[in-house]
Amino acid sequence: MLGFRLSAEKPPEAERVNDVVVSRFEHVYEIDPALMTEHVRQQDIPNWDFRRIVDSRWEHLAWMHDHFADSILSGEELLAEIEKED
C-alpha cells in the first residue's frame, strides 16, 4: 500500500529549461541535478511536497502584500487604460 502511494507521488521526468535549470511542473524550476553531485546532493521529494512548497510560497507572498496595504493595483490593467487614453 505504502509503495503504491509513493509511486503515485513520484514527480514526472524533468524537462531541460536551460544549461543549468530543469523543470518538472509548470513554472517550478530545479537546478540541474548534474550540478548537485559533489558538495550538495539533491533529495527525492514526492509530488505533494512540491505542491506544499509552491503553495506555501504563494501564501507567503499574499500574506506580505496584505501585511503592508489593503489592496494591490495591477500594472497590466493600468497599462491597458493608458493604451486607451493615449
Partner: protein
C-alpha cells in the same frame, strides 16, 4: 576562548537582572558571537562573549553598565543580531547585553501619532498590532521579519520604502539611551519626546543614531506612525542595455511622484545570477541586461495616478513591463534573503552552500555605472582566487528620504562558502572589502548607506572618509566612555585612548 568572569561578577549580574536572565553556557554565548555579515568562522571562539544578560528595564541596563565600569569589563549591546556590519560582534569578549526581552509596546498615542516601544520589538510584530488601529510603522529593511528597533537605531538603518516614508533616523522621533557610564538620558530633535522638529541645542539624536553600540544601549524609543496604506503598486521593467536601465532609474526617481517608495536597478551580473537561480528570471531571454523596479504606497486614488505616471516613464524609456506576476511577486519577496538558505556555484558550476553577503555604499547617481565595473572587477578577483566566492550581481536603490534623486544605496552581492574560511582567505576578503570601500570614496560616495562601516578592511578608510570628523568622533568617544568599555575595538576608536 572567552575570558571567564569572576564568580562575584556573575553573582552581581544575577542580582541585577535576575538569575534566570544571566547565561554563560556554551550555546548562549556561541550563538551570540556572530551576525550575518562575513564572519571569521574559523576563529569563532575569538568572538564569544564571557556572559550574556537579558535585562528587562533601563535601570537594569544602567546597573550592568556601572558594574562593567567598576571592573573594566567590555559591554556589547545586541538586538536582533541581524546586522550586516559587525556592531553586535564582541571583539574583546565581555558582557553581552541582549535586549530581546524589552519588547513591549509601552504607549500608543493617537493624538500625537506615536508609539513608544522597548528596543527588543520587531517591526513586523509591531505592525501586526498597529494594523488594528489603522497605522503602520514604515521602517522596512530586508531584515524586516527579524531585526529589532534597537538594532535599527544602532545601525541607523535604511528602509526599502524610505523614499516615501523616510529611514530609521527619520522615523525614530526620540529614544532613551544608557550612556557608557550608566546615566540614562533621552535624546531627540529637542527636549520633547514627541517633537519632530526643534532648534534647541545640539541634535543629539543623530549623534547616537548609528553608533554601532559604541556610545551606549538604547532602552526605549518613540516612533512615527503613518496611516496604513490603502494601496500598493509595484512594477518591474526589463531593458536590453544596462545604460538604458540606468537612465530609466534616474527618470523614475526624479518623477516627483509623492507616493513613490523606492526605485531599484539590477545590473547585468545580477540578471545573470537571477536567471540561474530565481524562478522569476529563469524564463527571461538572454537579451535582458537590466531590470528597473519601483513601488508606491498610499491612498488608493493617489497611488493610482502616480502609478500611471511611472508606467508611462517606463514605456517611454524603452523598457518592457515584465507582468503583474513578477512585479507583484518579486516585490513581496523583498525580505527573502534573511529567510531562505542560499547556495552558490563553484567555477565548474557545482552547487555549494554559500551565504549571502552584500557590500553596501552610498554612491552618487552619475557614478553608478563606473563603480559597478570597478566593484565587479574586485569581486571577480576573489572568484578567480577561490571557489569560496561567487559574484551574485549588483543593485542600486534610491537612497534619499522623500527626495530620492541623488545618491543611491549600491550593493554588490557576493556568495561566500563560509565553511571554507581560513586565515588566508579571510585576509583576501578583508583586502577586497577595503578596495570596495576605496572605490566608493574615490567616486564621492560613502563606505556604507545602511550597514555601518566598522568591519575589518572597510574601517581602515573611515578616517579618510570622515576627515576631521573622525577626530571629533574620537573626542566624543573618550568623553562619553572614559574607560572604553562600550563595544571596544570598533571603528578604530581605541585610537581615542592611545593618544591620551
Amino acid at each position: 576562548m572567552a575570558i571567564a568572569l569572576l564568580d562575584s561578577v556573575i553573582d552581581d549580574l544575577a542580582a541585577i537582572c535576575g538569575p534566570d536572565h544571566v547565561f554563560s553556557g556554551r550555546s548562549a554565548v556561541f550563538n551570540r558571537a556572530r551576525v550575518p555579515a562575513p564572519f571569521p568562522a574559523h576563529r569563532w571562539e575569538d568572538h564569544v562573549p564571557s556572559a550574556v544578560v537579558l535585562p528587562t528595564s533601563a535601570q537594569q541596563v544602567s546597573e550592568v553598565v556601572k558594574l562593567a565600569n567598576e571592573h573594566r569589563i567590555p559591554v556589547v549591546p545586541r538586538a536582533g543580531g541581524t546586522g550586516l556590519t559587525d556592531g553586535a560582534v564582541p571583539l574583546r569578549h565581555g558582557i553581552l547585553v541582549d535586549v530581546k526581552l524589552m519588547n513591549q509596546i509601552l504607549e500608543l498615542d493617537h493624538a500625537n501619532r506615536t508609539v513608544t516601544v522597548g528596543p527588543g520589538i520587531n517591526m513586523l510584530k509591531l505592525n501586526e498590532e498597529l494594523r488594528k488601529h489603522g497605522y503602520i510603522y514604515p521602517d522596512n529593511p530586508a531584515s524586516y521579519p527579524c531585526s529589532l528597533v534597537g538594532g535599527r537605531i544602532g545601525t541607523s538603518g535604511w528602509s526599502l520604502i524610505g523614499a516615501r516614508y523616510g529611514h530609521t533616523r527619520d522615523l525614530v522621533i526620540s529614544f532613551e539611551i544608557v550612556l557608557p557610564t550608566g546615566e540614562i538620558i533621552r535624546v531627540g530633535d529637542g527636549g520633547g519626546p514627541k517633537v519632530r522638529k526643534s532648534s534647541s541645542g545640539y541634535q543629539l539624536k543623530h549623534l547616537f543614531m548609528g553608533h554601532q553600540g559604541t556610545l551606549g544601549i538604547v532602552t526605549e524609543a518613540t516612533l512615527e506612525l503613518v496611516p496604513r496604506p490603502e494601496a500598493e503598486f509595484s512594477m518591474f521593467f526589463s531593458y536590453q542595455d544596462y545604460m538604458d536601465a540606468w537612465r530609466a532609474t534616474g527618470d523614475l526617481a526624479r518623477s516627483g511622484v509623492a507616493t513613490l517608495a523606492g526605485v531599484v536597478l539590477f545590473d547585468e551580473w545580477k540578471i545573470k545570477y537571477l536567471r540561474r537561480d530565481d524562478e522569476a528570471y529563469i524564463p527571461q531571454p538572454d537579451s535582458v541586461k537590466g531590470v528597473v523596479a519601483c513601488a508606491c504606497y498610499g491612498n488608493a486614488d493617489e497611488v493610482r495616478v502616480g502609478a500611471k505616471r511611472l508606467l508611462r516613464i517606463g514605456k517611454a524609456s524603452g523598457g518592457g513591463y515584465m507582468g503583474d506576476e513578477i512585479s507583484q511577486g518579486d516585490w513581496a519577496s523583498r525580505h527573502d534573503r534573511y529567510a531562505t538558505p542560499q547556495h552558490g556555484r563553484t567555477r565548474d558550476g557545482q552547487v555549494a552552500l554559500m551565504s549571502w553577503h552584500c557590500e553596501d555604499a552610498s554612491i552618487p547617481y552619475p557614478e553608478l555605472p563606473v563603480v559597478r565595473e570597478k566593484w565587479h572587477a574586485i569581486a571577480q578577483s576573489l572568484c578567480d582566487r577561490s571557489d569560496m566566492f561567487d559574484d551574485w550581481g549588483m543593485f542600486a536603490y534610491t537612497n534619499g528620504a522623500y527626495k530620492p534623486w541623488g545618491d543611491y544605496l549600491a550593493e554588490v552581492d557576493i556568495g561566500i562558502w563560509e565553511m571554507k574560511w581560513d586565515d588566508e582567505s579571510w585576509a583576501a576578503w578583508v583586502d577586497a572589502k577595503r578596495e570596495l570601500a576605496r572605490v566608493s570614496i574615490e567616486h564621492g560616495g560613502s563606505i556604507s548607506a545602511c550597514h555601518g562601516s566598522c568591519r575589518e578592511g572597510e574601517v581602515d578608510l573611515v578616517p579618510v572618509e570622515l576627515g576631521g570628523g573622525f577626530e571629533v568622533m574620537k573626542t566624543i568617544k573618550r568623553s562619553l566612555d572614559p574607560n572604553n568599555i562600550m563595544n571596544p575595538g570598533k571603528y578604530l576608536l581605541d585610537q581615542a585612548y592611545e593618544e591620551e
